[in-house]
Amino acid sequence: MTATPRTNESVVAPAPVDRPDEVENPTPAATVAETAGESVTVDVTDAAISPYYDEGPDTVERAAGTPDEDQPFLELGLRDDEYARIRQILGRRPTQAELAMYSIMWSEHCSYKSSKVHLEQFKAKAPKSDRMLAGIGENAGVVQISDTLAVTFKAESHNHPSFVEPYQGAATGVGGIVRDILAMGARPIAVMDALRFGAADHPDTKRVLPGVVAGVGGYGNCLGLPNIGGEVVFDPCYQGNPLVNALSVGVLPVSRLQNKAAAGTGNVVILLGAKTGRDGIGGVSVLASATFESGSEGRRPSVQVGDPFMEKLLIESCLEVYDAGLIVGIQDLGGAGLTCALSETAAAAGTGMDIDLDLVPLREPSMEPHEILASESQERMLLIVEPSKVDSVLAVAAKWGVLATPLGTVTDTGRLVIKWRGRPVVDVPPGSLADDGPVYARPLREPADLILLNADRAETLPRPKTGDELRATVLRLAASPNLCDKTWVTEQYDRYVLGNTVLAQPEDSGVIRLDEESGLGIALSLDGNGRYARLDPYNGAKLALAEAYRNVAVTGATPVAVTDCLNFGSPEDPTVMWQFAEAVRGLADGCQELGIPVTGGNVSFYNQTGAAPINPTPVVGVLGVLSDVTKRVPMGFSADGDVLILLGQ
C-alpha cells in the first residue's frame, strides 16, 4: 500500500495527533458535518477563522502575496510540522484549495501514515509469484489465472458512513469497491460482504443492521453482481462502531489490464459519470465556514447517496472504452474525489496537468474550488485519453447516457495546476500529495489486560456432562445470533445474476465460473475473528487467513492470492497500534508460510466508541482457482452411505 487512498471511505479531517480524547465516535443524532468522518469531530462553527478572501478566490498569486494569513490547518487535522512542510514544498503558504488537498491526501485514511511502516512486510515477505500482474499500490491486485485471463479482487471498509446512514453507507461501500475493480480493466463479476454489529438485541443494531443489509443488497442487486458470501457477526464491541467490509472481484483478459498513470503530454483528462455535489465533504467544510460564516446551512457536507444505475452505465461504458483501446490511463474517484484522482494519476506518470475546474459538471453551481476538489460524489471515473480518441470516448459515453467532460490536459511541467474562474488556485507537485505524505512509526504497547484475558482459560468453564445438558448446550449454540441461520440476510442478495454462480450461500466459499467452455473458475472466502484477535492479534490474523484459505481449498480450488481489510481502533493508542503491528506481522508471516501474496487491501483505523476500541478485526479474503468448476466440492453430503473422515487433530 502506498501513500494513496486505498478506499472510498469518507475522508474527513484526520485526527489531531496526540489528542486521542478528541477522537469521538459518530452518533446518528449529530449533524453530518460532525459525523460523516473517519474519526474526528470538527466543529465547523467553532473554527475561529477570519474570512480571508474578499476579492475573489484564494489564488496562488494571492497566497504568495499574503504569507502571514492565518490558515485553519489544525482544524483540518494537519499538525504544525506537517503544515510547515507544505509551506516548504510550495515555497509559500498553500491556497485554500491546496490546503484542502493536502489535508485530505495526508490524512491517515489516504496517506497510510501510521500503517505504512508495517504494511511493507506484505511486500517484503511476499513469496515470488509470476502470476501477479499488479499488486499493492494499484487500485486492486491482479492475478493471472490462465494464458489469457486475469482476476482482480479487493476488500474495503465503509464503517463510519454506515453507522451514520446505514443504507447509503453500505450501498456506497459496495459502489466504491466495484469501481476499484473496474479501474483495473476488469468486468466486476461478484461481491461479498463481511459485517459486524453490536449485540443482536441492542436498539442500535435494530437500526443499523436492516439498513446495512438492504444497502449492500440494494446496490449490488441493482448493479447485477451476485453476492457470493460473507459474514454476519454480533459482538457488543461493535455497538457504536459497526463494520461494513465489502469485497468485489472482477475478470479481465490479460491484454486489457489498465493503469492509472496520466502519461503523455497533451493527452486529455476526462471526467466520466455523475455530476459533482457537496457529498461527504466532511472536515473540509471548515474552509467553507471560514468564508461564509452565516448561511452555512445549505453548505453542510452531505451524505453520499449511491446511484447503482449510474454505476452500471459507468461499468458498461468503461468496458467499451477499454475494448476499443481508447484510453491511456484510468482511476476511480473514491474517498478523496478529484483531489486523489488528479494527483495520483499525474504522480504515477511523473507528469503534470492543467485542469480547468469550471468545466466540472456540478449539481450545485455555488460550489467553491476546495469543495469541488474534495467532493466524494459517487459514480465517477477519471480517464486519460489521447486527443485523437476523445471524440470516440465521448461517443461511447453518450451511447450509455453518461456525462463525459474534458477537464484539461497532461503536461510535462511536473506541476498540477488547477484554474478556477480563469485563475490558478492550485499549483503543486502532484507527488507531494500522492506519495510524499508523512510517515509515522507510532509507539506500540501490549495491552495491560492481555495477560489476564489469556489467563481466563476456556477449561475453567463448566462443561455439559449429561445428555440433557449437552442437548441444552447444542440448542443454545444453534440459536445464538452468531451461529444461527443467516438466511434473513442472504435472501436479500441476488446470488444468481450473471448465471455463473456455482457456489454461494450457505457454502463455505463462493465459486464463480469464468469460462463456460473450459470450466475455469475461481473460489473466494472472506473471514475474520475479532475475539480471537483480541486475545492474540498475531495468531488471530493467521487464523483468519487459515480459515479463508481452508474454505477456498475445500471447494477443490488452489488458493493463489490474499486481500485484507484491517479494522482497528485509534492508531494514536499504543495498545491499538500494537494490535495492528502484531496482526500485520501475523498475516504477512502466514502468507509467507502458505506461499501466497497479499495483493491489496485496506486499513480502517479509529473504529472505537469513546476511548474503547473495537476488537482488532483483520478480515481476510482468499482467492483460489479451479481449473474446472464442474469438479467443485460442495459442502453438503451428496449420497447415502458416504463415509465421513476427520482430517487433522
Binding site: 438492504a214 443488497g217 440494494g218 442487486n221 441493482c222 448493479l223 447485477g224 446511484d307 447503482p308 444505475f309 449510474m310 452500471k312 452505465l313 458498461e316 450509455w400 447516457g401 442472504t490 435472501e491 436479500q492 442478495y493 441476488d494 446470488r495 444468481y496 445474476v497 450473471l498 448465471g499 455463473n500 454462480t501 456455482v502 465460473r513 463456460e516 468448476v629 464442474t630
Partner: protein, 226 residues
C-alpha cells in the same frame, strides 16, 4: 434452421446475458436487441430480461415502456410474436398494457432471493407448451417488487380464462394475489413471469434445469408454426 430469439438490453438490464445463454442451451439462436433501436432484426420471438431498467427508481418498468424497441415489441406481440417478460420484463409488459395487473412492493418489504416451487397452470402458451399441466418446477425468484395485483374482476377473469400460467406453491415469496407467479395474454403468445427460468437451465449454476422448458417450448412452438 434454428429459431432466432431476441433478448432486449435496456440500460440497467442485468439478466440479459443469462437469457441469451438459456436460449442457446435450448438450441435457439440468441439475438441481442438494443433499447434505442426499434428494429427487431427479424427475430422470431423476444425475451425482456430481468434487471432494473433505467434504475427502476420510480416504478419498475415505468420508463422502459417508452423505449423505441418497446413500440416494435408491442406491435409484434399484437401480431402474435411470442414475447416472454421475466421479472423486470414482466413489469414492463404490465406497464405497456400487454398484460393486465401490476407488480408492487413485496408484502414483507424486502428484496427476496430464494429457490421457489411453482405449479404450471397453463400449458396453452408459446412458452409453456412443453410442460405438463400441474407440473411443479423449482426455479429462483429474486425481486423487491414482485407482488402481483389486479382488481378482483381482472383476477376472476384471468382464472376463468385459464390465463394464470404459474402459481407459487409451498409458500408465496412476495404476497402475490392468488399466488400468481405468471400470467399470459388472451392469445397465449405473451407471458410474464416473476421468477427466473433463465437461472435454472444448467445443473451447475441453478437449483434445477426446470427453467429450460420455457425456452424449449417456444422453439418447438415456432418450429411447428414455421
Amino acid at each position: 434452421m434454428s429459431m432466432r430469439i431476441g433478448v432486449v438490453t435496456f440500460p440497467g438490464s442485468l439478466d440479459d446475458r443469462d437469457a441469451q445463454r438459456a436460449v442457446r442451451i435450448a438450441g435457439g439462436e440468441a439475438v441481442s436487441l438494443w433499447h434505442a433501436d426499434a428494429d427487431l432484426h427479424g427475430v422470431d420471438g423476444v425475451v425482456l430480461p430481468g434487471g432494473f431498467s433505467y434504475g427502476d427508481y420510480l416504478r419498475c418498468g415505468a420508463i422502459a415502456r417508452f423505449s423505441a424497441v418497446m413500440e416494435s415489441v408491442v406491435k409484434a406481440a399484437h401480431d402474435g410474436m411470442p414475447v416472454l417478460g421475466i421479472c423486470n420484463g414482466f413489469q414492463i409488459l404490465c406497464e405497456a398494457h400487454l398484460l393486465p395487473g401490476a407488480l408492487t412492493r413485496n408484502q414483507h418489504l424486502h428484496f427476496r432471493n430464494r429457490d421457489q416451487w411453482l405449479r404450471i397452470e397453463s400449458t396453452g402458451t408459446a412458452w409453456t407448451a412443453g410442460f405438463e399441466a400441474g407440473q411443479e418446477i423449482l426455479i429462483p425468484v429474486k425481486n423487491g417488487e414482485g407482488r402481483y395485483v389486479a382488481d378482483a374482476r381482472t383476477l376472476d377473469e384471468l382464472e376463468g380464462e385459464g390465463r394464470i400460467v404459474a402459481r407459487y406453491v409451498r409458500g408465496n415469496p412476495n404476497g402475490s394475489e392468488r399466488d400468481i407467479a405468471a400470467v399470459r395474454n388472451e392469445a397465449g403468445n405473451v407471458v410474464g413471469i416473476m421468477p427466473h427460468p433463465e437461472h435454472a437451465v444448467e445443473a451447475l449454476t441453478g437449483p434445477s434445469v426446470d427453467g429450460l422448458g420455457f425456452f424449449t417450448s417456444v422453439l418447438a412452438h415456432l418450429g411447428a408454426h414455421a
